[in-house]
Amino acid sequence: MESWIGLGIQVGIPVGLLLLAYAVGSAVEGRHYRSLRARELRSRSFPVLTLRAPPADWRIEGIELVSGSVVVSLDYFKRFLAGLRLLVGGRIASYETLLDRARREAVLRVKEDAFARGCHAVINLRLETARLNRTLGSEGGTAGVEIVAYGTALKLARRSF
């Protein structure tokens, strides 16, 4: 009888932690996605381009370098799934939502930064991703991922689009 209790605790605690991490992680993710959609809808009319040259008919009065960055952390459940994937290969679906959210958040922050400085558009947008390592504990573990977006924001004479 005691050995079943012992076994139950040995297996139950890690599984319980995983489920807890999954529940909390998906709640956080759901909230973030709702916030992203709302803000993207509001800032729809703010143009962001990867082009270097702005359209010829824009009258530019000023430029600013703007950037937006975000660091997202990998939760326990996502790391567990990725660990399993590393054995069998294929697409790591658990990290895709993470990076998608982080990228959209970084671009939104660029828009917000440009808007706060009184600019009307951003050109030459670039995106960079960096991995942050954990310093404590096992080496080589990933603590989080940083995504930075940066571009040139333009102050236009009048909104010509």
Binding site: P47, V48, L49, T50, L51, R52, A53, P55, L74, R79, A82, R85, L86, L87, V88, G89, G90, R91, I92, Y95, E96, L99, D100, R103, V107, L125, R126, L127, E128, T129, A130, R131, G140, T142, V145
Partner: protein, 104 residues
Amino acid sequence: MILSNTETIPGRTIREFYGVVTGSTVRAKHIGKDIMAGLKNIVGGELTGYTELLQEARQEALERMIAQAKSVGANAVVNVRFATSSITQGAAELFAYGTAVKVE
């Protein structure tokens, strides 16, 4: 869908632009290929397993970006850029981004 990493499509003019579209994917190779790569690390040479992995990932990222461009009604994506990063040891994230436009 026309793809280009130049600012304009030679011979065509851009009529409308819709914004930035992105396509990304995170892939891992299975452990057999990883062990082979580990052994290759000792003798040197091309890691064909990882080359294949990144080629497949790049293709998938491009396809996803094209799907996003189609959904906004664009017929070309200009100024396409790629970025590769390692999210965790043994897995690579590949993403492609560009500006979705309508050319004629």
